[in-house]
């Protein structure tokens, strides 16, 4: 039995490494995904396009603008001379922030009166608006402190909310995103590889040929999934290394726990891949089915939208989503140094889900045709 499994595993690896597209799926795509997501899927705010409206024209107002720009968060691209210009720029989406300093700013400061700065924000993207407001506030407060007055009031008005495409309640974006992306990358690669590898045998006719050999279904299933489990682990190492070295994600918890829970996570991912391969007849169908599963799994994982906010029916559905558990686990380990004591409910659920999925798919897998 072990011998036969080993032979299938070896065969699978030979095939994998001879196929250039497969190599791309294994090596290039995960790294690319992580880098693209790591940089692009970010809610950090930098280089915010800003207009300034300076009615005071004093050294103090210029100094404040200089500080805004020097922070790196604001890029002052427009010096306007009327409020209508601000309106126009914001309507066209050319600026997100406008800072207006009224006449009397410097004299108020000198006299020790309360000086006012008006910050106008485009609230279309509420995240950016909130973050920009926060940054501006900090810089202006710091400036006031340096002047020794502490008397600048920032009036945040004109925050008009036109629409809300989505919302992201978190502001620590990279630390929050990258561990999630690790989970996604492993899932996509392993799902694709498993479902495609089995369906390919069916498509090219080797499956019929294998059915007539004395190989047992369990030997075939293990022989087919072990290579992808190993690749899943390799992927984990690769992507984690990039996350730590390239994105400076803090790794506060235990590597051992991370790998153990990855193994449990792979159980359900490979099981899902296997399940897809029992319903799909062609590689295209397998590809379609993989994405039909993967996209909702990501959307309903709690990564972008909190599960508590979903309709109750869908909330129940997410119990079948391995990502739901693994995201909690991987973030807990990376960011909070959570141990088994905290994560055991997730790990146990993930394990039971894995056993369930593997059992169902193995039962659907037969050595006979209908």
């Amino acid at each position: 039995m072990i011998k036969r499994i080993r032979h299938v595993v070896i065969k699978e690896f030979i095939q994998l490494f001879r196929d250039r597209r497969m190599k791309a799926i294994i090596f290039v795509i995960p790294v690319m995904q992580l880098i693209v997501f790591g940089y692009a899927v970010t809610t950090d705010v930098k280089d915010i396009s800003t207009a300034v409206y300076d009615l005071d024209r004093s050294s103090e107002s210029r100094e404040l603008f200089r500080r805004l720009e020097a922070s790196g968060y604001f890029r002052i691209g427009y010096h306007v001379s009327s409020p209508f210009e601000i309106q126009g720029l914001m309507d066209r989406g050319e600026i997100t922030v406008a800072v207006q300093i009224n006449h009397g700013f410097s004299s108020d400061l000198k006299r020790g009166n309360q000086a006012a700065v008006q910050v106008l924000l485009d609230g279309t993207d509420s995240n950016t608006a909130t973050v920009a407001m926060d940054y501006a506030n900090r810089i202006i407060t710091k400036y006031a402190k340096d002047l020794g007055t502490g008397r600048i009031a920032v009036s945040p008005f004109g925050v008009e909310l036109r629409e809300r495409a989505w919302y992201n309640p978190e502001l620590r974006s990279k630390n929050y995103n990258v561990p999630g992306v690790i989970a996604f990358v492993i899932m996509l690669t392993c799902l694709l590889l498993t479902s495609m590898a089995v369906v390919r045998e069916r498509e090219i006719g080797t499956m019929e040929q294998l059915m007539v050999t004395p190989i047992r279904p369990v030997e075939f299933i293990l022989g087919k999934t072990i290579p992808f489990a190993l690749i899943g682990f390799f992927e984990m190492l690769l992507v984690t290394a990039i996350a730590l070295l390239k994105f400076d994600i803090p790794m506060k918890g235990s590597f051992l726990l991370l790998f153990a829970s990855t193994a449990i996570y792979l159980l359900s991912v490979l099981g899902m891949g296997l399940f897809i391969s029992t319903i799909a007849r062609t590689q295209q169908q397998a590809l379609m089915a993989t994405f039909l599963f993967y996209v909702p799994a990501v959307l309903l994982s709690g990564f972008m939208f909190p599960i508590e906010n979903m309709p109750e029916v869908i909330q129940y559905g997410t119990y079948l989503n391995p990502l739901r558990y693994f995201l909690v686990i991987i973030r807990g380990i990376f960011l909070k140094n959570s141990g088994l004591a905290v994560l055991w409910p997730q790990i146990l659920s993930l394990f039971m889900l894995g056993i369930l999925v593997i059992t169902v798919s193995s039962m659907r897998f037969r050595k006979r045709m209908r």
Partner: protein, 313 residues
Amino acid sequence: MSRYISNNIIPAIKTSGLTKTFGDTIAVDGLNLEIRKGELFGLVGPDGAGKTTAIRMLSAIMEPTKGEAWVAGHSVISEGETVKEKIGYMSQRFGLYEDLTVIENILFYADLYDVPKKERPLRIESLLGFSNLTPFQDRLAGRLSGGMKQKLGLACTLIHTPEVLFLDEPTNGVDPVSRRDFWKILYDLLKEGVTIFASTSYLDEAERCTRVCLMNKGSILMDDNPAAIKRSLGLPMFEMWSDEARKAAEIIKTVKGVHSASLYGNKLHVAVNSRELMDDIIIELGRSGITIRGHREILPSIEDIFISRVERQ
């Protein structure tokens, strides 16, 4: 070789009322067969006759709806896995791993069948030898010609020295020269005592079998050796040449006493109740302005017999 010459009492293949239905369609309808060891059994029939379904059931990869079958003395229903160890099965489109080399393909099947390591070198050498694949053993299977792929498929099926070999349209889409080579290999296997069960839609191949069975719409119409089948018509058959063979065939079919008339290019094969009828036919054709370049009596081919039987059904 000696393992094949065990007792000859147990038939290599036996079926009893073997039936397979897919929904409302009956693919195989109550098949009763008994095939002795060492036979080269040819299952002939048009596409959709149920040949593949029959072979799949006998190879224990498809559950029969009704009936039972025994291969190499074991039930395909209750002892499917034992049957699988004793047979070789080459499906219509033998699935080779095209990204593995010739030798890797063979070794993979050797591994699956647990062929002992000691026996392998000799076995592989002889399989590569008879299939003329020795010079190509490191070539990727995907880069072989159609005929070579077919032979590699056969080599993979034979790696574990099966007692019964099932071939589903093995030479479909293979060039005539490769087809001849392939049949030569089958004869060599037959000498070793292997029982071969092959389906084919080439009727010239049927003549090479020791026993031929005509299948149509799931049931068996004829089952005998090729010579007996050829005699089975029991009517004289004539070959005729005409430039307007198609038109001639239409007219001939209307003549009373004509059993069948089938077209082979510009030739016609006509089965008649009596030899005297030929004169009537020629007169009848003359009336329609069709001239006959000549005619002679021939021994019907298996094709003639089968066409006439299938048409009658």
